[in-house]
C-alpha cells in the first residue's frame, strides 16, 4: 500500500510496481479529470503537479508521488482560480479533453512567473497539444489570468 496526497486528501492505493501515477489516479483512486493522451509524455493531457512542479503523470512512477503534494485539475490554487476565470471569459475549450493538462501547465507558469512574456508562455505550454486548436485563446487567457491574479 502506498499513500498519495492529492489536492490535500490522502488516498491509499495498491499500485502494481511500475504503474505510472496517471493510472493510479484514474483507475485506482477514481479521479478521472487527469487525462490519458499518448502515454509517452508527448501531449501533456495527463499533466499534474508534484510539489508545485508539473510532471506528465503517464510517465511518472507512483513511487515518485509518495510523500509529496499532488495537485490535479480537481484541486485549486490562486493561479487556478484566476486561470479558470480567464478561461470562462475567453470561452477557451472546444472538446475540453486537453484542458485539464493545459490549466495545470498554465498554473505552474503563473505560480513561478509573475510577468510571463510571450516566449515564456510558449515555452511553458508547448508540451500540451490541443487537437481542437485553441492555442490562441489559451495564450490570451493566460495573459488575462496574470492580470486577474495581480488584482486579488
Amino acid at each position: 500500500m502506498q499513500t498519495l496526497t492529492i489536492n490535500g486528501q490522502d488516498y491509499q492505493v495498491n499500485a502494481p510496481e511500475s504503474m505510472p501515477l496517471l493510472w493510479a489516479i484514474r483507475d485506482l483512486i477514481g479521479l478521472t479529470g487527469t487525462k490519458f493522451g499518448c502515454g509517452v509524455a508527448q501531449c501533456g493531457a495527463c499533466s499534474i503537479m508534484i510539489d508545485g512542479t508539473v510532471v506528465r503523470s503517464c510517465s511518472t512512477m507512483v513511487s515518485q508521488g509518495v510523500g509529496k503534494n499532488i495537485t490535479t485539475i480537481e484541486g485549486t490554487s490562486d493561479s487556478l482560480i484566476a486561470l479558470r476565470q480567464a478561461w470562462r471569459d475567453n470561452s477557451v475549450p472546444q472538446c475540453g479533453y486537453c484542458q485539464s493538462g493545459q490549466l495545470i501547465s498554465a498554473a505552474e507558469l503563473l505560480d513561478t512567473n509573475e510577468n510571463p512574456t510571450d516566449d515564456d508562455i510558449d515555452n511553458a505550454m508547448s508540451g500540451n497539444i490541443c487537437r481542437c486548436g485553441t492555442y490562441v485563446r489559451i495564450k490570451k487567457a493566460i495573459k488575462e489570468a496574470v492580470e486577474l491574479k495581480k488584482q486579488v
Partner: protein, 732 residues
C-alpha cells in the same frame, strides 16, 4: 384531419412539465393523437417548478459546442434565462431522428425546428399566465423567464406556471411566432457561457474514457500491423505475468455486410483490472501474424503508381463542358502541375474507447460516439440483440474529427463483454489509434490549364486519384465516389469554358474513412494551388485573378437545399482581402497566399502570411472569412474557425501516415506531429452577417488552409510546394 399538433404536454413525476415535439430534419412532422398514430416526440423541453429548463440534446458533443448551441437556440424563442437552462444527452434512439453528428449539419438542419419548439413553449406559458390573470394572451409577454402582464406590469415566474400550463391546449401554428432577429439575446451573440464550461474547468466532464461501472475490466487489444491480417499464433506467458492481468482472449475479425457498418479488426485482447496492466500485458504478448493481402502496401510506391495513373487519361466524369483539347490547342500558354498528399489520421486527444456490459439479454454501452444509432444497429447485426435491448449512452467526445463515427471500438468492447461476461472498457493506446485508423486517403492530382493571350483561363483538366471511403463498405471499390468528387472537384466554382474532370483508379490497402472536411482537403489544396500557378502565369494579382475567374454573379440552379451563390464566395474573398490588408508592404522574407473554398454549403476565404528563413517556414498570420449564413453561437463559430486553421496547419506542416510492408510507420505524437502553441500563428476571423439559412461550421474552415500556406511560401520564397507535408521538404 387536423395536422397541426406537433407538441404534446406531459406531466412529470416531479410535478414539472414536459413538452415533446416531433421534428424530422428541418421540417416539423405533424402527428395528431386523433390520427391513431402514436406520438413519438424527438425534441423535448422540460420545465420544473423551480424554473429549471432541461433540453434533451440528441447530437454528440465533440468540441463544436452543439449542446450549448441547441440549448441557446431553444432558449432564445422560449425567452428563457440562461441561468436556468441545462441539457440532458440523449441515448441512441431512432425516435430522435438522425443523430449522426457529421457533415457539419446539426445547426443547418435543426435550427428552425428548435426555435419553433421554443416559441411553442413560450406561447403555452403566455397562455397559462393569461388564464391565471384572466386576461387575453395578447396582453401577456414572456421576458427572461417571466411572463409580464402588459397592462399592469405584474410578473409571473415560468416555474410558477407549470400547473396552469398543463391545462393549455396546443397552440395552433399561427400562434407560434418566432422572435424578430433584432430582439435576439442568444442567437448570433456571445453572451452564453458554454453549458459544459464548469465541468471542463474542473475535470468533471464525463468522456467515454471516464465511464466507470463496479467491477469493470479494462482491455487492450493487439491488432495485426498489416490491415486485415490475422492471428497465426500467440504466446500469453509473458502477458499473464503482469500484475493485474486476468485473461487473454482472441477476437476474430468481424466483416461488415456490404454497404453498412464497420465491423472490427480482431486480434488478441488482454483483460486486466486496470488500464495500465492491460497495456503492459498487450506489449508483452508474442503474436505471430498472418499479414494477408495488404502486406506489400508501401505508400511511397503507391504514390508513384497514383502519379503515373493521373499522368495518363483516366475515367471522365460529369459535368462535361466544352472541349479541353481545343482549349489546349488554341492556348497562348499551357500550365500543368501534379500535387500529392499522404494519408492522415484523426488523432483526437481522447483515443477510441468503449465500455460495454452484456448482461441479462441486454447490451449497455458507454462510449464517445458520433453516430449512436449506427452503433446500435451494428451491435444488433453482429450480436443478435433486439434494438430495444441495446442502450448507447453517448459520453462526451474528447475530439472526434470523423474517427468516432466508426463504431469498430464499440464492437470490440461488446464482443469482449459477451465473452468474459463482465463489463469491460476497451482502451486504444495512442499507437493503436495512429496505426489502425480509418485513414483520410493518400491522393494525387494532375491539373492542366490553358490561358489565352489576355491571361484568361480557357481550359481546365483536373485528374484525381485516391482510394475511396466506399472501399470500407464495399471491397474492390477502386474509384472515387460521386459524393467525394462533389467535394470541390465536379463542383469547381470557377467560370471556365472548357472543363474536364477525370478520376483514375486507386485501390485501398488500409481502412479509408472520412476526416474533418473529407475530400475537400484534397480539392482545396489542388484547386487553390493550381489557380495560384495560373494567376502567376497570367501575371495578375492572386485575388483579382480569382474574382475574375469566378465570373458573373449567379445562383446555381442545381438541386440543393442551399444553392451555390458565387456572389457570396466573391464576397468572402473581398472581405479576406480587407481583413489581411492584402496589399500592405511585407517584411523581408514574408509572403502572403490566398485560397477559397465552398464546402458544407458555406463559403470561406483564407489568407495566410508566412515568413521563410533559411528554408524554414513560420506561419505568422491566418486570416479567415466565413459566410455560414445565420449562426447561433458567434464565439463558438469563431473558435471553430480558429481550430480549423490549426487543424489545417497541422496537416500541412506534419500530416503524414506512411506504410512499409503494409504497416503504418508512425506511432505517436513524436512522429505524427501536431501544431503546438510555439508554432501557432495569430488567427483573425471575420464572420459575414446575413439572413441566409444556417450552413456548415465545423468543417469548412479546413480546406483552404494548405494551399493558402503553400501559396504564401511561393510568394515569400519563389518555391512551389506541390507535395505535402512541409516536413518532407525539411521546411519545418
Amino acid at each position: 384531419m387536423k395536422r397541426r399538433d406537433f407538441v404534446k404536454i406531459f406531466g412529470l413525476a416531479t410535478g414539472g412539465l414536459l413538452l415533446g415535439c416531433n421534428v424530422s430534419a428541418d421540417k416539423v412532422v405533424v402527428n395528431t393523437l386523433e390520427d391513431g398514430i402514436s406520438f413519438v416526440p424527438n425534441l423535448f423541453i422540460q420545465l420544473q417548478k423551480d424554473g429549471t429548463v432541461t433540453i434533451v440534446v440528441a447530437r454528440s458533443e465533440m468540441g463544436q459546442g452543439i449542446r450549448t448551441s441547441m440549448a441557446s437556440a431553444i432558449a432564445e424563442d422560449l425567452e428563457a434565462d440562461w441561468k436556468y437552462v441545462t441539457v440532458q444527452q440523449a441515448t441512441g434512439d431512432a425516435k430522435f431522428g438522425n443523430q449522426n453528428t457529421d457533415g457539419s449539419r446539426s445547426i443547418r438542419t435543426l435550427l428552425k425546428p428548435m426555435r419553433k419548439m421554443g416559441a411553442m413553449a413560450r406561447s403555452i406559458l403566455e397562455q397559462a399566465a393569461a388564464k391565471k390573470w384572466n386576461i387575453a394572451a395578447s396582453d401577456c409577454k414572456a421576458e427572461n423567464h417571466f411572463v409580464v402582464n402588459n397592462t399592469t406590469g405584474e410578473k409571473v415566474f415560468f416555474g410558477d406556471l407549470v400547473e396552469e400550463a398543463k391545462t393549455i391546449a396546443i397552440p395552433s401554428d399561427e400562434n407560434i411566432i418566432l422572435k424578430d432577429k433584432k430582439d435576439f439575446k442568444y442567437i448570433g451573440k456571445k453572451v452564453v457561457r458554454g453549458i459544459d464550461m464548469e465541468d471542463f474547468l474542473h475535470g468533471k466532464a464525463n468522456y467515454g474514457l471516464d465511464a466507470r461501472l463496479p467491477n469493470m475490466k479494462f482491455a487492450a487489444i493487439a491488432r495485426s500491423p498489416v490491415t486485415f491480417g490475422s492471428v497465426k499464433s500467440f504466446d500469453t506467458s509473458e502477458a499473464t505475468e503482469i500484475t493485474g492481468v486476468e485473461q487473454v482472449v482472441q477476437l476474430d475479425r468481424l466483416i461488415p455486410p456490404a454497404g453498412q457498418f464497420f465491423g472490427m479488426l480482431g486480434g488478441v485482447a488482454v483483460i486486466a483490472n486496470n488500464t495500465w496492466s492491460a497495456f503492459q500485458g498487450k506489449n508483452n504478448l508474442n503474436v505471430e501474424w498472418e499479414s494477408g493481402i495488404n502486406e506489400s502496401y508501401d505508400t511511397e510506391k503507391f504514390k508513384e503508381k497514383l502519379i503515373s495513373r493521373i499522368h495518363n487519361k483516366a475515367k471522365v466524369v460529369p459535368p462535361f463542358k466544352g472541349s479541353i483539347e481545343k482549349a489546349f490547342k488554341n492556348a497562348d500558354k499551357v500550365i500543368e502541375a501534379t500535387y500529392t498528399m499522404p494519408h492522415l489520421a484523426h488523432a483526437p486527444m481522447e483515443v477510441p474507447n468503449a465500455l460495454a456490459w452484456v448482461h441479462d439479454g441486454q447490451c449497455d454501452v458507454w462510449a464517445p460516439v458520433q453516430d449512436p444509432q449506427t452503433v446500435q444497429a451494428e451491435i444488433a447485426h453482429f450480436f443478435g440483440f433486439a434494438i430495444e435491448d441495446i442502450t448507447i449512452n453517448v459520453m462526451m467526445l474528447g475530439g472526434a474529427f470523423g474517427r468516432k463515427s466508426k463504431s469498430d471500438f464499440v464492437v470490440e468492447a461488446v464482443a469482449l463483454s459477451q465473452k468474459i461476461k463482465a463489463p469491460v472498457q476497451v482502451v486504444w493506446t495512442r499507437e493503436d489509434d495512429i496505426q489502425h485508423s480509418f485513414y483520410h486517403a493518400q491522393n494525387a492530382q494532375y491539373l492542366k490549364g490553358s490561358l489565352d493571350e489576355k491571361g484568361k483561363v480557357t481550359g481546365w483538366l483536373h485528374r484525381v486519384a485516391f482510394p475511396s471511403i466506399t472501399s470500407s463498405f464495399k471491397p474492390m471499390s477502386n474509384y472515387i465516389a460521386g459524393f467525394e468528387l462533389g467535394m470541390g472537384f465536379t463542383n469547381n466554382p470557377y467560370e471556365i469554358e472548357n472543363i474536364q474532370i477525370e478520376n483514375a483508379k486507386a485501390e485501398s490497402h488500409l481502412r479509408i474513412g472520412w476526416l474533418r472536411s473529407v475530400s475537400n482537403i484534397i480539392s482545396g489544396f489542388g484547386v487553390n494551388s493550381f489557380v495560384d500557378e495560373l494567376a502567376i502565369a497570367s501575371g495578375k494579382d492572386a485575388i483579382e485573378f480569382r474574382l475574375d475567374l469566378l465570373g458573373k454573379d449567379k445562383v446555381s440552379t442545381a438541386a440543393s437545399p442551399h444553392p451555390f451563390n458565387v456572389a457570396r464566395l466573391k464576397n468572402v474573398l473581398i472581405e479576406a482581402k480587407k481583413l489581411s490588408n492584402w496589399e500592405r508592404k511585407l517584411p523581408e522574407g514574408h509572403g502572403m497566399g490566398v485560397a477559397i473554398h465552398y464546402s458544407f454549403y458555406s463559403y470561406v476565404a483564407t489568407v495566410v502570411e508566412v515568413s521563410v528563413k533559411s528554408e524554414k517556414v513560420k506561419v505568422e498570420n491566418i486570416y479567415s472569412v466565413l459566410d455560414c449564413g445565420m449562426y447561433v453561437n458567434r464565439d463558438a463559430v469563431i473558435n471553430q474557425m480558429e481550430g480549423a486553421a490549426i487543424f489545417g496547419m497541422s496537416l500541412t506542416m506534419f500530416g503524414k501516415i506512411s506504410t512499409k510492408n503494409g504497416a503504418v510507420e508512425q506511432s505517436n505524437f513524436h512522429d505524427y506531429q501536431m501544431t503546438r502553441m510555439i508554432d501557432a500563428p495569430n488567427i483573425h476571423v471575420h464572420l459575414v452577417d446575413n439572413d441566409e439559412d444556417p450552413t456548415g461550421v465545423g468543417e469548412p474552415g479546413v480546406p483552404p488552409v494548405s494551399a493558402a500556406i503553400t501559396n504564401a511560401i511561393f510568394n515569400a520564397s519563389g518555391k512551389r510546394v506541390r507535395s505535402l507535408p512541409l516536413s518532407d521538404h525539411g521546411m519545418v
